[in-house]
Assembly symmetry: C2
Homo-oligomer: 240 residues x 2
C-alpha cells in the first residue's frame, strides 16, 4: 500500500516538558503559552501573511512520544475513568494507527525578526518538542459546529480542585517568577485544578505526594479532599 | 531532519470524481454523501465502538491529487477572487508543505457486515479516492469555538445561483435517479448553487457552456446572470 512521508515544518516549545499533567484538550489551561518555531524556509513572513486576522489556528502535529506498539482497536480514555474501552476512532488518544494530532489554539502573536517568524500560542496542550506538520486557520463557519453532539465527551473535564500554595512553595514560586517564568503561579494553579492524578485515585483520600514537571521545575503537591496543596517547586533533577 | 511515514487507514468513495466543482468546505452541499471504506485491520467494529454517539467526525486525509511542486509561501484563495495572495498557513489550500487536509463532516451511519465496517458521511467535500489517515470524534467543547474570529474568511461562500434544469436535462436526470443515483437532482442543484466557475468569470455574462463530473456523469450547464441552466447529464467519456 502507498504510504506518505511528511517532514515537520516546525517544532513546539512549551511549559509541558513531560506528558503527565498536560490538559486533555486545548483551551483548558489558558495560562499555558507555547512557541511554534518554524523551520526554514517556512519561517518567512510571506507564508504567514493574513494569518494575524484569525484568533485561532489549528496545529497539526505528531504525537512523538507515543511509542508505536502493536495495533489495538480500543483505548481506555481517562475521561471515562480509565476502565471503559472505546474504539480508537471514537477517541482523541495519541495511541492510534497514525499518531497525528490536531489542536485548535489561540494565536496570541506572530513575531518576526530578521525575516524569521514564530507563532506565540495560548492555551496549548502540546508537549515540548512536538513536531508540527501543518498550521491552518480556524474557520468558524466550517469548523465551529455548535449543533454537534459529543457522544460520551459532551462536557469539558471538570476543574474541580482548589489549589493552595504552602509557605515554602509560595517563596519558591515567587523566586521562579522573578528569575525566569512570570505567570508561573497561575499556570501551576490551572494545571492542578484539573487534578491530573490517575483516574483511579480521584475522589480518594490520598497521603501520597504527587509530582509533575513544568519547564525545568519539579512541582510537588499533596491532596486533601478537594484541596490541592503545592508543597515545593524545585529545579528538575535529570535522572541520567 | 526526521520524517514521518503514514499509511492510509481507509479510502473515500464519493460523488466528486474530479476536483472542479467540489465545495470549498464541508457542510455546504449536504446532498453529497460519501462512504469511508476502512482497510483491514482498522475495519473492525471494536475500533469504532462508541463513535455512533457523535454527530460529526473529523476526517484527516491526504490531498492526493495535488502535485507537490516547488515550495511557494503564498497561495491565491478562490474566496478572494483568485488574485490576492495570502500566506499558505493562512489558507486551507491543498498546495501546502505537507498536503494534509481535515474536514468536519456529519456521520450519518456506521455499517458493518461480516465484521467489516464503513462510515457513511454527509456533506463531505472529499474527492473520490482520497486516502484517509485518521478519524477522530468531533468534540464540541474543544473544537467548536463560537467566539473565534475568522480573518478574511468570516462567512461561508455564497450559494447565490438559481439552478434550473432544461427539458432534456430533466429527463436525463430522472433516468439517472431511477437507475443508480437517487437524489442526483438535489446534488446537482446544491453543487451549482455555489457557482463553481473560476472566480474571474463570476458576475460576467457568459455565453460559454461549463461542465463538471459527478460520479460518472458529465454535467453541462450555461449561465444567464444569476441563473444557471443545466443542459445535459451524459455518461462520462473517458478521454484515454
Amino acid at each position: 500500500m502507498r504510504s506518505f512521508d511528511f517532514q515537520p515544518i516546525g517544532i513546539i516549545h512549551s511549559c509541558y516538558t513531560e506528558k503527565f499533567g498536560i490538559p486533555r484538550q486545548p483551551g483548558l489551561v489558558m495560562a499555558a503559552s507555547a512557541t511554534l518555531e518554524l523551520y526554514a524556509p517556512y519561517d518567512c513572513p510571506e507564508a504567514l501573511a493574513e494569518l494575524q486576522g484569525f484568533s485561532h489556528v489549528w496545529v497539526v502535529f505528531v504525537f512523538h512520544q507515543t511509542v508505536r506498539g502493536e495495533w489495538k482497536p480500543t483505548v481506555r480514555p481517562p475521561r471515562l475513568g480509565g476502565n471503559q474501552h472505546v474504539g480508537v476512532f471514537a477517541s482523541r488518544s495519541p495511541f492510534r494507527p497514525n499518531p497525528i494530532g490536531m489542536s485548535a489554539v489561540m494565536l496570541e502573536d506572530i513575531q518576526c525578526h530578521n525575516g524569521h517568524c514564530q507563532l506565540i500560542l495560548r492555551g496549548s496542550d502540546l508537549l515540548d518538542g512536538t513536531p508540527v506538520l501543518d498550521i491552518k486557520p480556524y474557520l468558524p463557519y466550517a469548523d465551529a459546529l455548535p449543533g454537534a453532539r459529543g457522544g460520551f465527551a459532551t462536557q469539558p473535564p471538570e476543574n474541580g480542585m482548589t489549589v493552595v500554595f504552602g509557605e515554602l512553595a509560595s517563596i519558591q514560586c515567587a523566586a521562579w517568577e522573578r528569575a525566569q517564568y512570570p505567570g508561573l503561579r497561575q499556570l501551576v494553579e490551572q494545571v492542578l485544578q484539573a487534578d491530573p492524578r490517575p483516574a483511579y485515585r480521584i475522589g480518594r483520600e490520598d497521603k501520597q505526594s504527587f509530582g509533575l514537571r513544568l519547564y525545568d521545575i519539579d512541582v510537588k503537591w499533596v491532596v486533601h479532599g478537594n484541596r490541592t496543596e503545592v508543597t515545593t517547586l524545585l529545579p528538575h533533577k535529570n535522572e541520567k
